[in-house]
């Protein structure tokens, strides 16, 4: 399948297949206002299949969150129809008010007005997992 190239914006490539909608959600992109192309379950030489998101606007949003939702993605910055830079997302050391803790025993389920914080834990080896600041439960992609 083919989708027209973008002129100025971002291409997020190598998103795990089926996760593009989560990426859009976590990036806080409003699908009703953003000019973008969504390609899902396309062929990937590296991973078998993948999703791609092409966004025709400047990256004013927090790309760091990709390090949680799609750490193996690649971020391509496009200027005047050409890719001018390419990188993989870093793993942010903390995520604040991005995801909610799914542990029913966690204090965040009863205490309003506090931040939903997660931190990167690498004791089990790289790349590590995100754990709730309060109860240490591993973060889940909802």
């Amino acid at each position: 399948m083919e989708v027209t190239s973008i002129q100025d914006g971002i291409i997020i490539d190598h998103i795990p297949a089926g996760r593009a909608l989560s990426v859009i959600h976590f990036l806080g992109l409003d699908p009703t206002r953003t000019r973008m192309a969504l390609i899902m379950n396309t062929r990937s030489e590296r991973y078998g299949s993948k999703d791609i998101i092409k966004i025709e606007q400047e990256a004013t949003f927090q790309l760091d969150i990709l390090g949680f939702v799609a750490p193996q993605a690649s971020i391509n910055i496009v200027k005047a129809g050409k890719i001018v830079s390419k990188r993989t997302p870093g793993r942010p050391l903390s995520l604040v008010n991005v995801i909610r803790c799914s542990n029913p025993r966690c204090v965040t389920t009863v205490e309003g007005g506090i931040d939903q914080g997660f931190h990167l834990d690498t004791t089990g080896g790289q790349p590590g997992v995100y754990r709730c600041d309060y109860c240490d439960e591993e973060a889940e992609l909802s």
């Binding site: 025993r105 007005g113 506090i114 709730c132 309060y134 109860c135 240490d136």
Partner: protein, 320 residues
């Protein structure tokens, strides 16, 4: 020790090893100088906020403060507190910070003590948050091991029973691994094995190792410490499995006959039937001493967080 003044204890993972060592050393000093330290915290007020009942732990915190000459206020059971009217933990702590110099909080939700410490303007001690953390229990365990064996590293430490849900086990393993030189022997039924993240922490400590086994009898002779835990019936799907496993791990004199003479048997108490009563009179039984050490380390901790120096302690340290 000025470093601990004004700080909170939510998890031992945040506390430097030198501070843990210092608290244990202070607990030993307090034990030998009960009269001298009896007015250390005179004029201080400890609030014990127990959102779920745990009478023994509360008594330990409160006795510790009373023995330092301070006083205690508090509640036990959420129905007695404004929590039942929907007040947040944060608001409760902001209010109580105006009354008390120090707070010990126990709450059924994991992470509640962190929320409390963030909201309070006085030091907060985590007295247990759900199945999560219970740092003063671990301090009591460490103090008992230090008192019995004279060291916290170069030890073979067996942990037996429910290693899946036992928070005291996870905290003790994690903290001992930081001291280093520990061979852990993890004794449990397959259903109640130690979780991976705890094993990862042992692996991450270069001088520590672990062995998982189901058989207590075959390893008891290697141990310096044996930490027994309760196997709770509700962890099992059927009664037969529970009864079979429960009885496998009962520590009695017959099993102890294969153990070393200096073995220290620990248990967080209360026990149900994991340890036969006949073991109580064996010199290797350390679980009632553990209760005493628990009160002493809480005394050391309360004084340290308040910044109240123990009379005579610094002089004694200089002499040694």
């Amino acid at each position: 020790m000025g470093d601990l003044r004004g700080s909170s204890l939510v998890t031992l993972d945040d506390m430097r090893l030198e501070h843990i060592r210092s608290l244990i050393q202070r607990a030993a000093y307090i034990d030998g100088h009960r009269q001298q330290v009896a007015k250390t915290c005179a004029g201080r007020v400890l609030a014990t906020l127990f959102y779920e009942p745990s009478t023994r732990t509360r008594l330990s915190f409160e006795t510790a403060m009373l023995r330092l000459g301070g006083q205690v206020v508090g509640f036990a059971g959420a129905q007695l507190s404004s929590a039942s009217k929907g007040e947040t933990i944060s608001d409760t702590l902001k209010v109580v910070s105006n009354y008390a110099d120090l707070v010990a909080i126990r709450h059924p939700k994991e992470g509640a003590a962190r929320v409390a410490a963030q909201a309070a303007s006085v030091p907060v001690i985590n007295a247990g948050d759900g199945g999560h953390m219970h740092p003063t229990q671990t301090l009591a365990d460490l103090a008992t091991i230090q008192a019995r064996l004279g060291r916290l590293s170069d030890l073979t430490v067996g942990l037996c029973g429910d290693l899946t849900f036992g928070r005291t086990v996870h905290s003790l393993v994690t903290t001992l691994a930081r001291f280093g030189g520990i061979r852990f022997v993890l004794i449990s039924p397959d259903e109640l094995r130690c979780p991976q993240y705890v094993l990862d922490r042992i692996d991450a400590a270069p001088t520590c190792s672990y062995l998982c086994t189901r058989d207590l009898t075959s390893v008891i002779g290697d141990l310096d410490v044996l930490y027994m835990t309760r196997v709770q019936q509700e962890r099992f799907f059927n009664e037969d499995d529970y009864l079979r496993l429960r009885d496998t791990y009962i520590l009695d004199e017959a099993k102890l006959s294969g153990a070393r003479q200096h073995l220290a048997v620990l248990h967080p108490l209360p026990r149900v039937n994991e340890i036969a009563v006949e073991v109580d009179s064996d010199p290797r039984a350390a679980y009632f001493q553990q209760v005493k050490e628990g009160m002493l380390v809480r005394m050391a901790l309360e004084a340290a967080l308040l910044g109240d120096p123990l009379p005579g302690y610094e002089d004694e340290m200089e002499e040694n």
